[in-house]
């Protein structure tokens, strides 16, 4: 009886799996300089997985299974990753990398969770893999990959196609027979297309032949187009292409031949960047939206203080340093920590400053603090090596000191030295204007700094858990002092970069 039941269960299980297969999550699109490739995704225990075979096809890696040991080795050139089924830790060239869920072997194929790609595979590829879950993208390398969201509005005679581009990126519109090609000055675009309104002379809107373009297919009634660009808020830009039909031109100017569409309209959205080592600054006002951050006894919210200081600093930098400044948020919204560093990476920022307010169990503790990233060593070999990596860094109060630089597979790791210098300048500048904590400069494993692909520091501008500082932090005068100090630090840091 049991055997019959189990066999029935087996049949049902297979059928259920077959049915579930139809409801699998959407594929990832792998964006690289070579273009786009799909990477199929399956769901296992409510987690998203990709097959190692598919990884091999897309990235040119090879895999060798050791059935006896229940393991799999993925290799590219001389680098390799060793996986063990049901172990959520993998070894990458001897370093251990943890995964949110273990690799699984199913239907004779190995599958790994999505986080395997940026955490482990990126190390053997020796390039950055930026996993963007919502648009289902995996961006390979330090690509300029702006988000381009299209909208189509059909008017009574015209059709307007609007592209919201984040970050703001130059675009070029070229008229070709039967179509318009919009090419963005980027390596690839992270494109979202709407469905088209019916019965217009815009027949199609689709990704172009290159990874950075969009094609508008025009019908026979199309005559000409106008292009308008507007810089929008928070570093995004807008490109509107207004398609006009032949009839409009005839009614408005029946005796005059309508001017031929310009073969090429070049759009200049961002102003030319000044030649300097510090062209773009991204400021990250900590917390926001549902995430209040810390809170003072009188109700002062960290998320409001950080935004206010960020706006003051933006004004100062724009007027005094001539650099472009982008805020990761310019309103009260929830952002993940990855979104913040990804925003800085997408804007190709030269500096990333995350602003925060602090808290302690002892209300007497007060003063500002600056942090830069420390990275943990994962294996004995790296521990041993770290002893040889002592580096001299600017120390508080001038002079220099020796610290161990410990490299990990993060984007920030290669900027640790510059980040340490940046933190040193921030600490010195703040000390001239506001009270510092006894631990004014620290190294810590702070999540928001990990993925920043540029020099980065986190500034705790004071303790909201201290009554005196809660009152101070809410004043414009204190916030201006902090902003001025951060500007002074950035000026010093620019000199440091240029020499």
């Amino acid at each position: 009886m049991t055997r019959v039941l189990l066999r029935a269960a087996g049949v049902c299980f297979v059928l259920a799996i077959a049915l579930m297969a139809t409801a699998q999550p959407a594929s990832l699109t792998v964006l690289s300089r070579d273009g786009r490739k799909p990477l199929p995704v399956i769901a296992v225990n409510n987690q998203e997985y990709v097959a190692v075979d598919d990884i091999n096809t897309v990235f040119g890696t090879t895999a060798r299974e050791d059935r006896l040991a229940g393991g799999l080795t993925i290799t590219l050139r001389s680098r390799s990753i060793v996986l063990t089924a049901d172990q959520n830790v993998v070894s990458v060239g001897g370093r251990l990398v943890s995964l949110p869920s273990p690799p699984v072997r199913r239907d004779g194929r190995w599958h790994v969770p999505l986080d395997f790609l940026p955490r482990a595979l990126a190390l053997v590829l020796d390039t950055r893999l930026d996993l963007r879950r919502a648009p289902r993208l995996l961006i390979v390398g330090d690509l300029r990959a702006p988000r381009v969201v299209a909208r189509v509005d059909a008017g009574t005679t015209n059709v307007a196609v609007t592209f919201e581009v984040t970050p703001n990126t130059q675009a070029q519109v070229t008229a070709q027979p039967g179509r318009l090609v919009v090419q963005f000055e980027a390596d690839v675009i992270d494109l979202a297309l709407p469905s088209l309104p019916p019965q217009t002379f815009l027949l199609g809107l689709a990704p172009g032949d290159t990874a950075n373009s969009v094609v508008l297919t025009t019908g026979p009634r199309y005559a000409t187009h106008r292009v308008a660009t507007t810089p929008a808020d928070a570093g995004s830009g807008r490109v509107t292409i207004d398609l006009l039909p032949a009839t409009t031109a005839e009614t408005t100017a029946p005796t005059v031949t309508p001017p031929a569409a310009p073969p090429e309209a070049r759009l200049v959205i961002p102003p030319p960047a000044p030649a300097s080592g510090l062209r773009t600054v991204v400021i990250d006002p900590g917390h926001g939206g549902d995430e209040l951050g810390t809170q003072g006894a009188k109700g002062t919210l960290e998320k409001e203080i950080t935004l206010s200081v960020a706006r003051r600093l933006r004004t100062l930098i724009e007027s005094r340093l001539g650099a472009k400044v982008f805020l990761t948020r310019d309103d009260d919204r929830t952002l993940s920590l990855d979104e913040r560093s990804a925003f800085a990476n997408n804007h190709q920022a030269d500096v990333f400053l995350s602003l925060h307010a602090n808290s302690a169990v002892r209300p007497a503790l007060k003063g500002a603090e600056v942090y830069f990233l420390t990275v943990e060593r994962a294996d004995a070999e790296a521990r041993k090596r770290a002893g040889d990596n002592a580096t001299t860094l600017p120390a508080l109060g001038g002079g220099s000191r020796e610290i161990d630089l410990i490299l990990w597979e993060t984007a920030q790791a290669r900027y640790l030295e510059q980040s340490a210098a940046l933190a040193g300048f921030v600490e010195q500048a703040l000390a001239g204007r506001v009270e510092m904590s006894p631990r004014a400069i620290q190294q810590a494993s702070l999540r928001v700094l990990v993925g920043a692909n540029m020099p980065a520091a986190l500034v705790e501008i004071g303790y909201l858990s201290n009554a005196e500082q809660e009152a101070q932090l809410a004043t414009g005068a204190y916030q201006d002092q902090v902003a001025q100090a951060l500007l002074d630090a950035l000026i010093k840091f620019r000199e440091f970069l240029e020499h």
């Binding site: 029935a8 259920a16 943890s98 809170q295 169990v361 503790l365 904590s437 006894p438």
Partner: protein
């Protein structure tokens, strides 16, 4: 479409029922394949021998971690001992003038230890809402747990904190919890520069 949906639902139901049934049928057939990683809390028996363990609290100025010895139940095996230490750390009253670094009411869901001597400490998600935030306070909380385990159980190499059974990004928006952490000596006030408060058995 509707037929396909109904068929899918029926199959899924049948599968769930039979899978459940087969599990029931399988239950008496010997031990589980994977040993459970989460241990039950040690019984509250006064006869259980106790050992001295080093726990951590915030210094009087709130700036550092200070070690203080406390008695915790002697447990059988590293996992049970790790659990006893973390439970003692979560519930310990700080010896004056020290202060607790972990918000009141924080509870432990489980502890397990990997073959690579990494300890995983799974905390109840309530610690998130109870935590005041701020980089400094978050560092103090995280490294209280990490240091308490690594100081008392020197066989362990690293500690990863999980929240609600899941790998967590951070506890309150600052400290990276996605990887196991090592002991942090910088936060600890060295015993030479202070007099340790007396242990409070």
């Amino acid at each position: 479409m509707a037929i396909a949906g109904t068929a899918a639902a029926a199959l899924a139901f049948a599968w769930a029922v039979i899978a459940g049934l087969s599990r029931v049928l399988n239950t008496p057939a010997g031990p589980d394949i994977d040993p459970p990683v989460v241990v039950a809390p040690p019984p509250l028996n006064p006869a259980i021998p106790r050992i001295k363990a080093t726990l951590y609290f915030a210094s009087e100025d709130g700036l550092h971690l200070v070690a203080a010895e406390r008695e915790v139940p002697l447990a059988d095996g590293a996992v049970a001992q790790a659990r006893a230490i973390i439970e003692a750390q979560l519930s310990a009253e700080p010896p004056p003038p020290l202060a607790a670094t972990i918000p009141a009411g924080a509870t432990l869901r489980g502890v397990f230890i990997s073959a690579r001597h990494e300890a995983f400490v799974d905390l109840d998600p309530t610690i998130r809402t109870a935590h005041a935030g701020g980089s400094h306070q978050e560092l103090m909380t995280v490294y209280t747990i990490v240091n308490a385990l690594l100081t008392n159980l020197p066989n362990l190499q690293e500690v990863q904190i999980l929240i609600g059974g899941q790998e967590a990004d951070t506890l309150a928006g600052h400290v990276d919890l996605r990887r196991p952490l090592r002991q942090n000596q910088e936060l600890i006030l060295s015993p030479s520069s202070t007099t340790l408060p007396p242990s409070n058995p």
